[in-house]
Each structure stands twice: as C-alpha cells, then as structure tokens.
Amino acid sequence: MDYVVAVLLPQLLHGLVFGAALGLLALGLTVIFGLLGVMNFAHGELYMLGAYAGIAVVSLTHSFWLALLVAPLAVGAIGAVTEVTTLRPLYRREPLYGLILTFGLALVFREGARQIWGGDMRRILPPFTGSTPLLGMTYPNYRLFLLAASSVLLLAIWLFFTRTRAGILVRAAVQDAEMLDGLGVNVPRVFTLTFAGSAALAALAGLLLAPVFTVYPQMGVEMILLAFIVVILGGMGSMGGSVIAAFVIGLAQSLLTLWMNPQRVAIAIFAIMIVVLIVRPRGFFGREGVLE
C-alpha cells in the first residue's frame, strides 16, 4: 500500500498531467496534418511563441489569467496571417513544398524569438504556488490545475468537433475538401481559421507548461518531437487517436522512469515509435493508406 501511495500514484499523476498537456499540442498538429497533408514543423515554435507572448502580457498586466486569454489570441492571429500569406499559395503543389515551408517558418520564428527576447532561459511564475496533500502524498497545486485545465480543454475541443456546425465543417474539410467546396462552403476560410485555432491551442499549451518547463527559444523543438511521436502512434490525422496516444506516452514515460533513467526513457519512446512505424504504420487509429 505504501508503495502504491508513495511511488505509483505520483507517477500516474505525472503521466496524466504531462499527457494532457501533450494532447493539446498534438491535437493541433494532427488536425493540420489532416487538412494540409503535411506535418507542420513550425507547430513547436507556435508553442514557444505562446509562452513568450504570455511573458509579455504578464509583464504588462501582472496577470497570468489575462495572458492565458491574450497569448493564444495573438499567436492565433500570427497563425492566420502565416497561413494566408505563405501556406495558401502552396496548397495545389506537392506536400513536400508545405513541409519545407513549415520547416523554414520554424527557423524564422525561433531565431526571431532569439533576436527579440535573447537566448536566455526565462521564468514565468505560476499564478499560485503551494501543494495539496492528496491520498497520503503531496502534489503541487499548479500541476493539478494543469491537469484540470488541459482535460477541460480537451473535452471542449471534442464537443466542438462533434456538436457544432463549425467543428463538423472542419472534420469534413479534413475528410474531403473538394467535396466541401462543391457544396458551397468557403473552404479557404475553414483552412485559415483551423490553422489559427491550432496555433492558438499550441500557444495555450506553451503558456500552461511555461511555469513548469521555463521559457527559451529552443523549447518548442524538444516538445514537438514528442508531439510527432504522439501523432504517429495515434494515427496520422486521427484526433481521438492523438489524445489517447498522448496519455499513453505520458503514462509510459513516467512509469518507465521507475526502472530506468529518464534520459533512457526518451530513447525507449523513440524505439517504440520506430517499431510502430514498421509494424503498423497507420498507428493505433489511423486510416489505412495514410502512411502505408
């Protein structure tokens, strides 16, 4: 019993907290993949921009809560402008063009952030500190909030995609954009808004995780690798699959650390991805034909 409370329970909670936050990041990535047919390499930089935008808002207003609202909107706007000016002209070309473009955008955003804010690590204080005694262990309040906030957001996104007309339109665009166009829907607008929404989601994840991981220009690169793994495991383009895979990765990572150093766990996770890509390229819930 002691083992369960002192060792297993905290690890399970770690896994859930990290999985939920990772889910937010991966969800945007998989939706964009469904729409554009390419992995958005700049997604990690949008996550990073969210954290920096948050720092800017907090330093002006001293309110983390206001930053949680403003930073995603600002990064969403950057996402919309980026989509209209750079990605849209490439939709009719091969997916490789989009891939190279987003790779370039990632470099521009990352180096831009370095120019504006410098390369130093920056801290952003959580809106509340302290810990809560929970089932015989102690857990930081902010991480509990992180789990709650991410879970509520994931639920809201699920409701958006299943219960609202806008959500159904996006899913339709993911399935078959040409058919949607034929039905008289303004598809480019759906594309722009979806890209902006996914950028805002990445920014939100960036700001939510900033008090835990701190903020620096490279922060997106480290997270996006994991998000890629999640998207591949979940099945490219499958939203539900991504969320489930995010929790699987989060839990696997935190439980595996009980037996091996976290640095080796990172390698093990990559090994799992390689095996999945070889044995079942479509991932857990992917459609046949996406990667096979």
């Binding site: 002192a6 060792v7 991981f213």
Partner: protein
C-alpha cells in the same frame, strides 16, 4: 622658407609636449591577468563573484604599488559554460592579451579543457570554483593551482557526518557532467567505505527544466538522506520542485559546497532548511578572517561574498609568487608557488601543498537555518585533503553499481 620654419616650430612644440606628457602615463607598466568563466546562464552567479573576488585583490594590490612595479589589470571573458568556447577564450587571453595568470573556469568541464591550453602555453592557471577530481590527479600540470576543495576533499568530511548523524541509506542524485559525476563518484566511494548504503543513483542533464521524472525512482528506494550534486539555477529549480512534491520534508538533505550560493538562499529558505554541506566559506561564519573579508566585500559590492570569491586568494598567491620569483617567467613563478603560505587570504593563513598544488583548506560543515549557512563543525584541511595522487586515476575500480544489503 618662413612657412617651413613655422611648421618645424609647431612640430617641435608638439613633440616636446608628447615627451613631457608621456612619462606620466607610462610611468607604471601594466601586467594583465585573465578572468575566465560563466558570465551568463546556469552558473553566472559563480562567474560574477569570481570576477568580484579578483577585482578586490587587484584593487588592494594596486593600492600598494601593484606587483613587481606593474599595475595589474583584469581581462574578463565569458566561456558560455562550455569547453569549446572556454578553450577559444583561454587562447585569446593568453595569445592576444598576454595574460600572466589565468583564473577559471567555473564549470569543471570547461576548466579541464582549459588545462590543456595553459599547459601548452605554460601559463599560470588558478582554479577557484571547479571541483572535478581529475584536475589535481590525471590532468595535473606544473602551472596549475587550486584553492577550491575538489570532490574528494568534500566527500570525506561530509560522508562521515551523514553516516554518523543523518542516516545510513543515501540516494545520490547528480548533474550529469564532469562536476556532478565527480562529486557523485567520490561521495559514493567515501560513504561505502564508512559503512553507509547507497540505495540509488541517478544523473540528470545540466540545465534540466523539470526534475519530477526522477522523483519516482527516489521515492521507490526510500532513502534516509538525499545527496544532491547540482549547482546554480539547476539547484534552485530542483529544490523548488522537491519542496512542492513534499520531498524536502520527507528526506534529510545534503549536498556539495557550490549547491546554492549564499545570495540565493534567502529566497529559497524554506525548502533549504536543514540542508548540510561542507564548505570553505560562509558570510555567517563568526571566524574573524571571514568576517573581515566579508565586510570589505560587502562595502565594495553591496552584497555578501560567497565561495566563488575565493578567486581573491588566487590573485594574492600569484602576486606573492611573482614577488618571490622576482619575475613573471612562468617556470620561475610556478616553482615559487610550491609550498608557499599567505597569511591574509579570505579565510586566514593558507598554504599550497607542493605535490599537487592544492591549497590545504580548513573547512566547516554548514547547515542552512533560516536562509543562512551556519557552521556546525570544523574539519582541518590536513584531514580532508587526502593523499596526493598526481598522475594516478582517482576513480580506479569505481562502479556506479548499487551494492544491495
């Protein structure tokens, strides 16, 4: 003709003025010394105090006429806490600035790399901050000196106190590069020799942002004591996170001398309460020499000194050796260093051991109480320094393997 005469007169007047003015500015010759270390990033706290310690020594020496009639000037360089830039900057300091003494670096990895440079160029090299055990053993060279207690010196005294007073089951958590590995190794060796049990070891990369993935394994091995070999902002983050998971109250805490600097302690007083470390300096030590030094330091910089300000002594020792050798020639100055004692260092009289150029430093065990590092026991330098092991492998036969009891 008249115009030529006028021109000649003006030129002569200028030349005369220059001649009159020149002796005033070149009356005292200048000797440069190099200050190399982390000026930004994870270890910037140490780099800054290293510079300040040197500035204080230089100011005091220059007020008394400098060294061998030369005014001392410091040239500072940032090594980005990485070996490659450290080597580049050390070459620059030696070849371009012609420094006669190089103090640095801060990170052990950088210092080990710089030792090759100072060996190659025969430059007097003092280390006042880094603590890996290879510097006075396998990497040792004639021009290298240290007044920082290395991991071997720290481990012996601390391990004895932990086994006697804190608990026998210890988990070693270290920062996974030269310094942390060295501290972890030496501490594990010392603890096991004294009958303590190492119940787990783990390394986390330098500049880790989130330490919580390592906490499960620590809890799983249920130690009495957590031994922490981290430094700089890594330590700050680690302590904040350990505290938020209730682990600072669950385990007794001990760590290396540079774990957290005095100036960071007040802001993190609660998580650090009870933390034990072995150190050569604390501004809260009632020792008269430390108090006198700290008062001068505080007057000049407006803040308490810390262990990195031991660079003050490095400059004093070098200047005394230069005066003794009556030359800046590095071979002569290196020889003059050997066995030399200086009375007015920041902790009083100290001597350099001839065999491995290590300063024999009296140290204290300190415990953090209310954000202050307070002394709880004294350990004589001769007890902690250990045998000289120049050229020998200080980690021969070592293994990270956990011996199950």
């Amino acid at each position: 003709m008249k115009r030529v005469t006028w021109g000649f007169t003006v030129l002569a007047a200028i030349a005369a003025l220059v001649w009159i003015a020149a002796p005033a500015s070149s009356q005292q010759k200048v000797v440069k010394i190099g200050d190399l270390g982390s000026k930004v990033g994870v270890f910037e706290g140490y780099g800054k105090y290293q510079t300040w310690g040197m500035q204080m020594a230089v100011e005091e020496l220059n007020a008394k006429g400098g060294v061998l009639g030369h005014k001392i000037e410091i040239v500072s360089e940032d090594d980005e806490t990485k070996p490659a830039p450290a080597v580049r900057k050390a070459e620059k300091l030696i070849l371009q600035d012609d420094v006669k003494l190089l103090v640095g670096a801060v990170s052990s990895g950088a210092t080990l790399a710089v030792m090759d440079v100072t060996k190659k160029h025969k430059t007097i090299h003092w280390n006042s901050v880094s603590c890996a055990e290879f510097m006075r053993t396998t990497k040792f060279h004639k021009y290298y000196f240290s007044n920082q207690p290395d991991s071997r010196m720290q481990a012996n005294g601390l391990a004895k106190y932990i086994v006697d007073k804190m608990g026998k089951k210890v988990y070693i958590f270290y920062t996974d590069y030269a310094m942390g590995q060295s501290d972890g190794r030496q501490f594990k060796t010392a603890l096991e020799k004294l009958g303590g049990e190492v119940v787990g070891v783990a390394g986390a990369p330098l500049d880790t942002k989130d330490f919580s993935p390592w906490f499960g394994a620590i809890n799983q091995s249920s130690p009495d004591v957590l031994f922490l070999a981290f430094a700089g902002t890594d330590s700050l983050r680690l302590m904040t996170q350990l505290h938020s998971f209730g682990m600072t109250k669950k385990y007794k805490l001990a760590g290396i001398d540079c774990f957290l600097l005095q100036q960071d302690l007040p802001s993190i007083a609660e998580p650090m309460e009870g933390f034990v470390q072995l150190n050569h300096f604390s501004p809260h030590n009632p020792d008269a020499n430390m108090q006198a030094y700290n008062a001068r330091f505080k007057k000049k910089f407006g803040t308490d000194a810390n262990i990195a300000a031991g660079s003050y002594d490095a400059v004093l020792f070098w200047a005394a050796a230069v005066e003794k050798a009556k030359s800046f020639d590095s071979d002569k100055v290196a020889e003059a260093h050997e066995g030399m004692c200086v009375d007015n260092t920041h902790i009083g009289r100290q001597c350099i051991r001839k065999e491995d150029h290590q300063v024999i430093m009296d140290m204290h065990l300190y415990q953090v109480k209310g954000g202050k590092n307070l002394p709880i026991a004294k350990i004589a330098g001769s007890d902690s320094i250990g045998e000289a092991m120049v050229g020998k492998d200080p980690v021969e036969g070592f293994t990270w393997e956990i011996k199950k009891k």
